[in-house]
């Protein structure tokens, strides 16, 4: 009898051990997976990192948006940190009225759009020239082209400033338009490089067969190259537009005191004017914080809208256009 009992006990023990082992295996499979990258632990790690980094990236945005809705009481009240007690659009109303927002926005789009279009066209032409044809000193010219990206604007700024004032280009869009047409716009070298990379990927046989059919170089460019390059053209235009729109350093210099201003500059100007009226530490200054934030939101809003509609170009086209410069 006792033998039977001990046998049963043993078998139960064995069974348990086996089950336990199986359970352990399962847990291990669940947590670590077959190759670690498909396990639960790994996924938790990835999402934790994503959320942490995402929080860091979104934090200023959240800060800006929530802050812009706050009333004076909310700013002073220590208890209100994130969520404003009431949804008030007062700050936005002030900014929109004071800087004449919609006119200013049109100005800003004009100031960014026209140079961006010219820069796109010119850098496409130049990039094609570099990618397709061989000519003497090509390597040297190419290196010089890349070098223009590294030279800080501080070096060229002051002679350019003098040149512009001599030819009366200050305070008008021409100060940005002429360099853009000649392929020397804001970050022009990057755009030329993007087109260069892209055009080099186009098979030569395509162009040669068009040549055999009697197409001139210009015709090949407009009828074959440009339609193929649409993703690159979009991405270059978008980047150029965003960079021109955000530019404050050079435009602060060239457009100083004129009526044509970029949106960030206009908001800044309004705020400095406003703050200089009121003494330090006064209530109005406190309110100014929220107004500033509202101004910033309004400055970024057009770009955010543009970004949400075109973000797939930002994300996907970059793979196709070879921005990587290998």
């Amino acid at each position: 009898m006792s033998r039977v009992i001990s046998y049963v006990k043993d078998s139960i023990h064995l069974l348990k051990e086996k089950e336990y082992q199986q359970f352990g295996m399962k847990m291990k499979r669940l947590l670590i997976g077959m190759k670690f990258t498909d396990g639960l632990l790994y996924h938790i790690l990835v999402y934790a990192l994503l959320f942490a980094l995402g929080y860091i990236y979104l934090y200023p945005m959240l800060y800006m948006v929530t802050g812009s809705f706050m009333t004076m009481e909310d700013i002073i009240d220590v208890a209100v940190k994130w969520i404003p007690s009431t949804l008030n659009f007062e700050n936005y109303r002030i900014v929109i009225e004071e800087i004449n927002y919609f006119d200013a926005l049109l100005d800003a789009i004009y100031l960014a759009g026209v140079p961006a279009i010219s820069a796109t066209v010119s850098s496409a032409l130049i990039g094609y020239g570099f990618a397709r044809f061989d000519f003497p000193f090509k390597k040297i010219l190419f290196v010089l082209m890349i070098m223009t990206f590294i030279v800080p604007p501080q070096i060229t700024m002051l002679p350019m400033f003098r040149m512009y004032s001599q030819y009366d280009l200050l305070g008008s869009i021409k100060a940005f338009l002429y360099p853009a047409i000649l392929g020397q716009g804001l970050n022009g070298a990057i755009f030329i490089l993007i087109f260069y990379q892209f055009f080099r990927m186009i098979p030569k046989s395509l162009i040669e067969s068009a040549e055999l059919d009697g197409a001139t170089p210009l015709k090949i460019f407009t009828k074959i190259i440009v339609p193929l390059a649409v993703p690159s053209i979009i991405i270059v235009f978008l980047f150029s537009f965003v960079w021109y729109y955000n530019e404050t350093y050079l435009s602060g210099l060239y457009l100083r005191g004129s009526s044509l201003l970029t949106l960030p500059l206009r908001v800044e100007q309004y705020i400095t004017n406003f703050t200089s009226i009121y003494p330090e530490g006064s209530r109005a200054r406190e309110l100014m914080q929220a107004v500033k934030l509202a101004g910033n939101v309004l400055t970024l809003l057009p770009l955010l809208v543009l970004y949400f509609f075109t973000q797939r170009y930002f994300v996907e086209s970059i793979d196709k256009t070879g921005i990587t410069g290998e």
Binding site: K35, F36, Y47, L49, L50, L53, G54, I56, Y57, Y59, P60, Y63, M64, G67, L125, I126, G129, F130, R132, F133, D134, F135, P136, L141, M145, P152, Q154, I155, T156, M157, L158, M160, L182, G183, Q184, I192, P217, F239, V242, N246, T248, Y249, L253, P264, L265, V267, E268, L293, N296, T299, L300, L303, L304, Y307, Q311, R312, F314, G322, I323, T324
Partner: protein, 334 residues
């Protein structure tokens, strides 16, 4: 519609006529075999020469632009940096001072050397961090994660929002430092036990970590493009041979995107250096506009040109340093 067609036809006829006149006149004549200048100088048309002419005409606008908007201003500012320049009404009065401007920048200027050193230290800390974070984020969003599009949207936001005044505003208001980081006293304890020369940059790093991360937009794009070009089969093959994720990162991913690191370094250094809120840049502009004065010896255009050139040279040295460091590592690994 018909009118438009007619107009286009007329225009193209005119264009052809102009083209014909341009290539068949006394000064220049082109036919199948020769280009003739002034009926005297004959050049045989080879395929190579034709290609060269077409190529140069494509980049002609760039050459003109380079001469006007890059080479001339560079040379002019180099020239100015050896002079003391004063504005007298519309004219400028220049008097040669040799290398005094450069000397003054290092010897007499109370701020410049200090902010230049600060800039160098900041770059040495920030550039590697930017690159590492860009790589981490690129690798994270290159995986099969849920809501890929949404994550990408979030991480490319910096591409859009790197405007000077907005970031400056956020900096002033303290939105670029994470409050939760400061609340941990661990950092304070670490800082207290360090030499102040080492502690200050680290403190500054934590204060500007957000700002640094916000410079990663384009870098993420570049790394992501590089990561997507790596063949998935290589990973599968290495897995069958028993390599874990750790090994495959060091042996496959990193070597494959190493060539891109140099590109990213150059981009990061340049974009951080020309960023409108950089102390050195602000100082140079103030000197140029006469808003800050350095003694009586040198101010204005000439001096600020000298400062800009010193800054440029430091920047190039930094780029060389980083790119060199990366490439030495690569060579020793082989």
């Amino acid at each position: 519609m018909k009118k438009v067609k007619d107009f286009l036809k007329k225009a193209s006829d005119l264009f052809d006529k102009v083209k014909y006149k341009l290539s068949h006149n006394v000064v220049f004549r082109s036919d199948f075999e020769y280009w003739t200048f002034f009926n005297v100088l004959k050049i045989r048309v080879t395929n190579k020469r034709r290609q060269a002419v077409i190529g140069v005409s494509f980049i002609f606008i760039w050459i003109v632009g380079y001469l006007i908007f890059a080479l001339y201003p560079m040379m002019y500012s180099l020239y100015l940096s050896f002079f003391k320049v004063r504005l007298a009404g519309a004219d400028i009065v220049m008097s040669g001072v040799g290398i005094d401007n450069y000397k003054a920048a290092f010897l007499y200027d109370p701020y410049f050397v200090e902010i230049l050193i600060e800039y160098v230290v900041e770059m040495i800390l920030n550039v590697p961090i930017t690159i590492v974070f860009a790589l981490i984020i690129a690798m994270l969003i290159n995986q099969d994660i849920k809501g890929k599009g949404a994550w990408r949207t979030v991480f490319f936001l910096p591409v859009i929002i790197t405007t000077g005044p907005v970031i400056q505003e956020l900096m002033v208001q303290g939105a670029t430092t994470l409050p939760s980081i400061q609340e941990y006293e661990v950092i304070d304890i670490v800082l207290d036990n360090l030499n102040s020369a080492l502690a200050n940059p680290i403190q500054a790093l934590f204060d500007t970590i957000l700002l640094v991360l916000w410079f990663t937009g384009i870098q993420i794009l570049i790394f992501l493009a590089g990561l997507q070009k790596i063949d998935r089969e290589i990973y599968e093959a290495s897995m069958i041979d028993g390599a874990g994720p750790w090994e495959s990162f060091w042996k496959i991913t990193l070597p494959s995107i190493m060539p891109l690191v140099s590109v990213v370094i150059i981009y990061t250094v340049v974009s951080m250096s020309v960023f409108g809120l950089n102390e050195v840049i602000i100082y140079i502009r103030n000197v140029m506009l006469g808003e800050s004065t350095v003694g009586t010896l040198t101010t204005g255009y000439g001096y600020s040109a000298a400062l800009a050139w010193i800054y440029f040279i430091v920047m190039v040295l930094l780029i060389l340093l980083f790119v060199g460091a990366v490439n030495i590592k690569r060579r020793s690994r082989r």
